[in-house]
């Protein structure tokens, strides 16, 4: 009982005692008008404590008036005064019960609305479902005046009020049968433990169960109210779950949009860098071609020298051709198209040997080693595309490794594929950047200064290899350097 309740109880008891003492001090007749003063404590107790309070106060009044009525009957028989006294007792008891009942009903109604508001407030705050359920259980325990309230949601995955859901428990039974259960005596307490479990329903579906326990009575009215709560809480929980899902979706969307924006920004930056780089890459061979062609046009050279200059010009033209091919492939890729390839059954060994031999003749600053392990199976591939892939990888290896170092090309057949490794002894690629080197325009910052490049070569390699159903990956070579491995499906 609260402090205010104790004060009211004391006031009621005091009023009964004072009124009784006043009656005794006066004439003591059961018909005295002062007897109606008992209505004051009776109504007060009924309003404050409900039916029980009203009845107990009325009982106090009966105990107070009773002796006067009995004495009247004993002394004078059933007189009018005695009858008035008896009627007064009945009126007091009736008033106490009636006022208490009405007050209790009004209070319960108000408490129900307040509980619903508290439930809505608890569900309105954004939080994970488990935390919302715990908060809800705490609100219901306090508001419903029960000893414990628990919730089971998400088919037993979220349990509030216990560590786990026992499959033979009353709550499990309610979840299975979708009907409320009321047990008048659970547990082994000295006092009877009432248990009410109601399903939480939303849109015809059972989304969980609400269980409450109390050492004491749970009236039928309270049980009916709990069933109503079950529907309201189920709906509110479902709404909270939907709201949480929407929040999560919005957060994910925001995150993805942020990532995409950042990626677009980086692409924009890379493209800007590429435009500058491409201009430079195109200008360099063009300048060489312009210079050598002017020399040939304006001066007379010995035939040997003319052939040398023509060779240089042919090399620059090939370089221009490669750059333009890369641009064209990239343009196809950005439109979502695969590179144009013309497949044919071919033996990869001669192609690999020719590519290695070409670089061995033209790039004498490095040692180039070729190891072909056994006979290679045939592949279904575009010979030109395969040639570009090999030349790109060998060219990169030569570009990024120091003069005098060795570039090894190894080809072998393994698990239904033809694998070609190109290893260099350069500075290598940091582990965190190995996956990114295949992205268009991307160049490893530490090695970008070691040679010219558009940042397109490896992305074109990757698209060509994947167009053949193969894979390409970058690893650290044993010791130092980089190993690029191309795997192409072998024909059976």
């Amino acid at each position: 009982m609260t402090a205010s309740g104790r004060r009211t109880a004391l006031l009621v008891a005091g009023l009964v005692v004072v009124i009784t003492a006043g009656l005794a001090a006066a004439d003591g007749s059961p018909s005295t008008p002062w007897r109606h003063l008992y209505l004051l404590p009776v109504l007060l107790a009924g309003l404050r404590f409900g039916v029980a309070g009203g009845l107990i106060a009325a009982l106090g009044a009966v105990l107070g008036v009773g002796p006067f009525v009995l004495r009247e009957i004993e002394g004078h028989g059933p007189t009018r005064a005695a009858a008035e006294g008896v009627v007064t007792l009945a009126v007091l008891a009736g008033s106490g019960a009636l006022v208490g009942s009405l007050a209790a009903r009004a209070r319960r109604q108000r408490e129900r609305y307040e509980t619903l508001r508290a439930v809505q407030r608890a569900l309105a705050e954004p939080a994970p479902l488990g935390r919302v359920a715990a908060r809800l259980a705490a609100v219901l325990t306090r508001r419903l005046g029960v000893d414990a309230a628990g919730l089971v949601l998400d088919e037993g995955r979220i349990v509030v009020g216990a560590d786990r859901l026992d499959p033979r428990s009353l709550t499990a039974r309610v979840l299975a049968r979708r009907e409320p259960e009321f047990v008048t005596d659970a547990g082994t307490d000295a006092r009877a433990r009432r248990v009410v479990v109601v399903p939480l329903a939303s849109d015809g579906e059972t989304v969980g169960a609400l269980a409450v326990e109390r050492l004491g009575d749970v009236s039928r009215e309270e049980r009916d109210a709990l069933v109503g709560f079950g529907a309201a809480v189920g709906l509110a929980l479902d709404n909270a779950r939907l709201a949480a899902r929407q929040r999560r979706f919005a957060e994910e969307l925001e995150h993805k949009v942020g990532e995409a924006t950042a990626r677009l920004g980086e692409m924009d930056r890379l493209k800007s860098g590429f435009v500058a780089l491409a201009s430079h890459e195109l200008r360099t061979p063009l300048t060489a071609l312009q210079g050598f062609s002017e020399l040939l046009a304006t001066r007379a050279f010995a035939p040997v020298e003319v052939r040398r200059l023509a060779e240089i010009m042919r090399g620059e033209i090939e370089r221009l051709g490669r750059i333009v091919s890369d641009f064209l492939d990239l343009a196809r890729l950005e439109r979502g198209l695969a590179p144009a390839i013309r497949r044919a059954v071919l033996d990869p060994a001669p192609l690999i040997a020719a590519a290695v031999e070409l670089f061995r003749r033209t790039r004498t600053t490095h040692r180039l080693e070729l190891h072909v392990e056994g006979a290679l199976p045939r592949v279904d591939a575009d010979a030109d595309a395969l040639d570009r892939v090999l030349k790109n990888l060998i060219s990169n290896a030569l570009k990024y490794s120091p003069p005098g170092s060795c570039v090894r090309v190894r080809a072998r057949a393994t698990d239904g594929v033809v694998a070609v490794d190109v290893e260099d002894e350069g500075p290598g690629i940091p582990a965190e950047e190995r996956a990114r080197v295949f992205e268009p325009y991307y160049r490893v910052r530490e090695t970008a200064g070691l040679g010219p490049g558009t940042g397109l070569g490896l992305s074109v390699v990757k698209s060509l290899v994947e167009a053949h159903g193969g894979t390409v990956r970058a690893d650290a070579a044993p010791g130092c350097g980089t190993r690029m491995t191309v795997m192409l499906p072998a024909l059976p």
Partner: protein, 267 residues
């Protein structure tokens, strides 16, 4: 929480299941026999009344013990025997009623084996409230009976009051509270709402006192018994319901009956 974490099974058995029927029949025969012998003037009235009351009260305590005893608890006939010993003592001499005090001593010693008898430690506040309630009803009874019905009070003497006090503590109140609150009400409140359980138990408790041969047969005493014992029983049910212990009810009953014994109602 029990409802979530523990397996649930419906509890078998009805309200009165598990009563020691053969013992109750034997005690019933004893009670009825004592009454019959007294009516036939084969046995003096006082010892016949004491034996009859002892048989009935022994039946109450035996039933309560049978319902409350855990596995391996005391035999119900022991409870009946202890109460009957008090009754035999009272039949032999007034001071022999002090033998009734063996009953609370026995119950106290066996409390560990009687977990369902409402012998749990009650909050001190509720025991005090019980005693205060008994005092209030007793005082009201005393005032009403002495001022309006003409029953005079009497100065208690040790010889006069001690046997009654021993009877009330060990026979009357203990057996009533143990059976009607600790056993019957406990079972009833685990099946029905408090008002229904309290009403049933109070009605049966009233019957127990109204058929008691020790209650003087006059209209005003019967009316007073109905009035006060109804209030006392309802209040004791509430005290048990709140505390899970018969201690507050015993306190209320003993104090009330002390006031009752101070009136010149008892022959």
């Amino acid at each position: 929480m029990y409802a979530i974490a523990r397996p649930w099974e419906p509890r078998p058995g009805g309200l009165l299941s598990g009563a020691p029927l053969p013992l109750l029949v034997a005690l019933g025969v004893l009670t009825a026999g004592a009454g019959a012998l007294a009516r036939a003037e084969l046995v003096p009235l006082t010892p016949a009344r004491a034996l009859g009351a002892g048989g009935a009260q022994g039946a109450l305590l035996a039933t309560a013990v049978a319902w409350a005893a855990s596995r391996g608890g005391p035999a119900p006939w022991l409870a009946a025997t202890v109460v009957l010993a008090g009754a035999v003592g009272a039949a032999l001499s007034p001071l022999g009623a002090l033998a009734y005090l063996a009953a609370p001593v026995w119950v106290w010693l066996e409390r560990a084996r009687l977990p369902g008898l409402g012998l749990a430690r009650a909050p001190a506040g509720l025991v005090v409230a019980g005693a205060a309630l008994g005092a209030l009803l007793g005082a009201h009874l005393f005032v009403t009976a002495s001022l309006t019905l003409g029953y005079s009070g009497r100065v208690p003497t040790l010889e006069g009051l001690a046997p009654w006090l021993a009877y009330d503590v060990g026979g009357n109140v203990l057996t009533t509270e143990a059976f009607f609150r600790g056993a019957l009400f406990d079972r009833a409140q685990r099946r029905w709402p408090f008002p229904a359980a309290a009403a049933l138990v109070t009605a049966l408790c009233l019957v127990r006192y109204l058929v008691d041969p020790l209650l003087p047969r006059s209209l005003e005493v019967t009316a007073g018994a109905v009035f006060y014992l109804t209030l006392l029983s309802l209040a004791n049910c509430w005290l048990y319901w709140r505390s899970g212990s018969i201690a507050p009810g015993v306190a209320a009953g003993v104090v009330f009956f002390v006031a009752y014994r101070l009136l010149h109602v008892v022959p």
